[in-house]
């Protein structure tokens, strides 16, 4: 019994991890392209497909249900596009409309199914919240295949994906098949979401798509590392969520994964170097404490211009203090400038700009003039 439980856990953890990886890959692009909520709309729009597939085939076999879900999800994105293109209804309203109406249709179909006398219908509602524990080895194999395909597409069309993400018009002008690539990425996203429905369910699938990408974005500026980090976060959250929910009684897998992901996003937003809030606060403090150097450098430069034959001619600190506004820490600024190699003092404590400092000052002057 214990071995069986262990085996189940392994399947679930593997499935959740793979789902996290694929979501991380594709979600990075969705986040960068401002399509974060497309996943939300898509996963809701898949519900009528699930119900329809069951109504037509009469079985809960995974493959037809996934095909049905993918088809209505796809139709949902087409309807959103049609509404935005052909009316003045804004994108967000179109998304919300498709999401809720398709979901309503799915609900109607589910109640139709519930009235049918055959008992096989039970369990369709699990698609709402997902039921990771019910994952089978076959499901994991399907996920592994999808993950491989996604990885292959990303590797083969990496630069095209980059152009599609950041400058689609440029890609079109180069004659790259942007439309087809966009279609392919959306199709892969549909497949991923549909697979995710089983694990985390309709409502929480959107977090699987958005969270890894949004968290990874904080840690890096490069697309390659962002996608990798996102996939890593997805795997870690998927596996740890699955393990945690198997250890703690009555802790559902999907919401656990999402809560872990939310925690990762929170930490990333606060702690990530350069972008994180805490980091930014520290940086701001450092900037505030650092003595203002530019005016002192400009004064040094102005003084050295007075001695065209001897640019290294030094001046007393008191001269600079007289020239500068009262709130400037002249000594501190001089020390900082010396550290940066922009100014130097001689044996007598007289200060002059270095060659580098003079060039820096001229650059500043030019910048001011250009403005």
């Amino acid at each position: 019994m214990e071995i069986f439980a262990d085996w189940t856990l392994r399947v679930v953890a593997l499935g959740a991890g793979l789902l996290g990886a694929v979501s991380g890959f594709l979600g990075s692009f969705a986040v960068l392209r401002r399509q974060s909520l497309l996943g939300d709309a898509l996963s809701h729009a898949a519900l009528p497909g699930i119900a329809l597939a069951f109504l037509i085939t009469g079985s809960k076999a995974t493959v037809p249900i996934l095909i049905g879900a993918a088809m209505t999800g796809w139709v949902g994105t087409l309807v959103v596009r049609l509404i935005v293109r052909r009316s003045r209804v804004p994108y967000d309203a179109a998304l919300g409309l498709v999401l809720s109406v398709f979901f309503g249709l799915g609900l109607v179909l589910l109640t139709v199914i519930q009235k049918r006398p055959d008992a096989a219908q039970a369990g369709l509602e699990t698609y709402l919240f997902g039921q990771a524990a019910a994952l089978l080895r076959a499901d994991v194999v399907v996920m592994a295949v999808v993950a491989t395909v996604v990885l292959l597409v990303l590797m083969l069309a990496w630069k095209e994906m980059k152009v599609l993400t950041f400058d689609r018009a440029y890609g079109e002008s180069l004659g790259l098949p942007m439309g087809r690539l966009d279609g392919l990425v959306t199709a892969l996203l549909v497949v991923t979401i549909v697979l995710g429905l089983q694990t985390v369910g309709v409502v929480l699938m959107s977090a699987m798509i958005v969270a890894p990408g949004a968290a990874a974005r904080q840690w890096t500026r490069r697309l390659g590392s962002m996608v990798t980090v996102a996939a890593g976060i997805g795997v870690a959250a998927g596996v740890s969520g699955a393990v945690l929910s198997s250890i703690v009684p009555r802790l559902p897998t999907g919401p656990t994964i999402v809560l872990i992901l939310s925690g990762v996003v929170g930490v990333s937003l606060l702690m990530a170097p350069e972008r994180g809030l805490v980091w930014r606060r520290l940086q701001l403090g450092r900037l505030r404490r650092r003595p203002r150097q530019e005016p002192v450098l400009m004064h040094l430069h102005a003084l050295s211009l007075q001695h065209p034959d001897d640019p290294d001619h030094g001046h007393e600190v008191s001269v600079l203090r007289t020239m500068s506004p009262a709130d400037i820490d002249v000594e501190g600024a001089l020390t900082a400038l010396a550290e940066r190699g922009l100014a130097a003092s001689d044996r007598r404590g007289l200060w002059a700009p270095t060659e580098l400092g003079r060039r820096e000052a001229q650059r500043t002057l030019k910048r001011e003039a250009d403005r």
Partner: protein, 370 residues
């Protein structure tokens, strides 16, 4: 009252109460905030339910609405850091809240009668079971009283701050300059949306509240051009969606909330396709009319160009015009019919001639460009 009438009344009142704040959501591009709020109220509902033990207590409405507003605050705070785009912030916040709610429910599922399905999906058919009884007198279902109260609150809000809301919606910068606090108005609206969502979830379920909030206003947006008519029409379409949805649900014996969403979607699809000004059909019709008109202009200039020349009989022969203009035969035929019908040209034997009016028309065109 008989329960069916009660259900219908609750449906209509809920639908109208949702459609009114929905107008502002659609116009202010906040449609998906309704999606976020309807999900984010779950942990508030759960906690308040643990405390009060009732799904319709006023405390529950307050606590859950507070969670909804909190989620909006969080989304905006995240967006303001510029670390994530607004849509990503929405997509991050509400699943987190919702997950928290689901975990709370599942952890303590044994002790309370509340399951996540009912929050997500709602079941209007059960609404009449919860009666509002004062001093032993049955005053009707609690849900009806609650939703009527919320509807009145929404109406009061809109009437009292109508011009401020209208201004802040259509021209936020001007509203701020004139001294109306956009932030205050925004949070008033968000509070109204949260309260409405909490009130409606037990009847309609989280996700269908979104349909009731977005579909009727979006449909009205395609049908009318002014603010007040849009509000009235949204309310009307919402009520229509409720009645139609209830009818559909009765007829097919399916989920009432689901069929209300579907009928609201159909109403939008109707406005989208057949709207008198902005509908798909009139867009197509207008475009083809413009095409014919443009062709008629080219035709008139062609006739003017060859008028009185030796080749006129060849170039302007009705049967040959398509060759000379390089157009398909049906398009040519339509253009000729249009010029003749407008009195710009007439057929004389095999040749098409400009009328006096048509000549002036063509001269104007070739002088001022087409």
């Amino acid at each position: 009252m008989n329960p069916e009438v009660e259900i219908l009344l609750i449906a209509v009142v809920t639908s109208v109460a949702c459609a009114l704040p929905g107008v502002f959501l659609v116009l202010r591009r906040l449609a998906l905030v309704s999606d976020a709020i309807t999900h984010a109220i779950l942990p508030g509902i759960v906690v308040a339910f643990f405390l009060t033990g009732s799904l319709t207590s006023p405390l529950l409405v307050v606590a859950a609405a507070a969670t909804g507003v909190l989620s909006v605050v969080l989304i905006e705070a995240m967006h303001r850091t510029r670390l994530v785009a607004e849509d990503a912030a929405i997509g991050l916040v509400f699943p987190a809240f919702f997950s928290l709610g689901v975990v709370l429910v599942t952890r303590w599922a044994g002790k309370v009668h509340l399951d996540t399905d009912s929050v997500l999906l709602g079941e209007l058919a059960f609404a009449p079971f919860d009666r509002f009884i004062v001093g032993g007198v049955d005053l009707g279902p609690v849900a009806l009283w609650m939703m009527s109260g919320i509807l009145l609150l929404n109406l009061a809000l809109i009437v009292v701050v109508f011009k401020e809301l209208k201004l802040a919606t259509l021209d936020p910068a001007l509203a701020a300059v004139l001294g109306f606090s956009p932030v205050l108005l925004h949070y008033l609206l968000m509070t109204a949306v949260s309260v409405t969502a909490v009130g409606a979830f037990s009847a309609a379920g989280s996700i269908l509240v979104v349909a009731l909030m977005i579909a009727p206003p979006a449909a009205a947006y395609l049908l009318v051009e002014n603010f007040k008519p849009m509000l009235l029409l949204s309310g009307g379409l919402g009520a229509l969606g409720a009645v139609g949805g209830y009818g559909l649900a009765r007829w097919l014996d399916v989920s009432i909330a689901g069929s209300m969403a579907v009928v609201c979607g159909l109403i939008f699809a109707g406005a989208f396709t057949f709207g008198p000004e902005r509908g798909l059909v009139s867009q197509i019709r207008r475009r083809s009319a413009q095409r014919v008109e443009f062709a008629a202009r080219l035709l008139a200039v062609h006739l003017l160009h060859h008028e009185g020349t030796m080749r006129e009989a060849v170039e302007c022969a009705v049967s040959n015009l398509n060759v000379h203009l390089g157009w398909p035969v049906p398009a040519t035929r339509k253009a000729i019919a249009f010029t003749v019908a407008r009195g710009l040209a007439f057929e004389e034997g095999p040749v098409l001639h400009l009328t006096e009016v048509g000549r002036r028309f063509a001269e104007d065109l070739s002088a001022g460009g087409i």
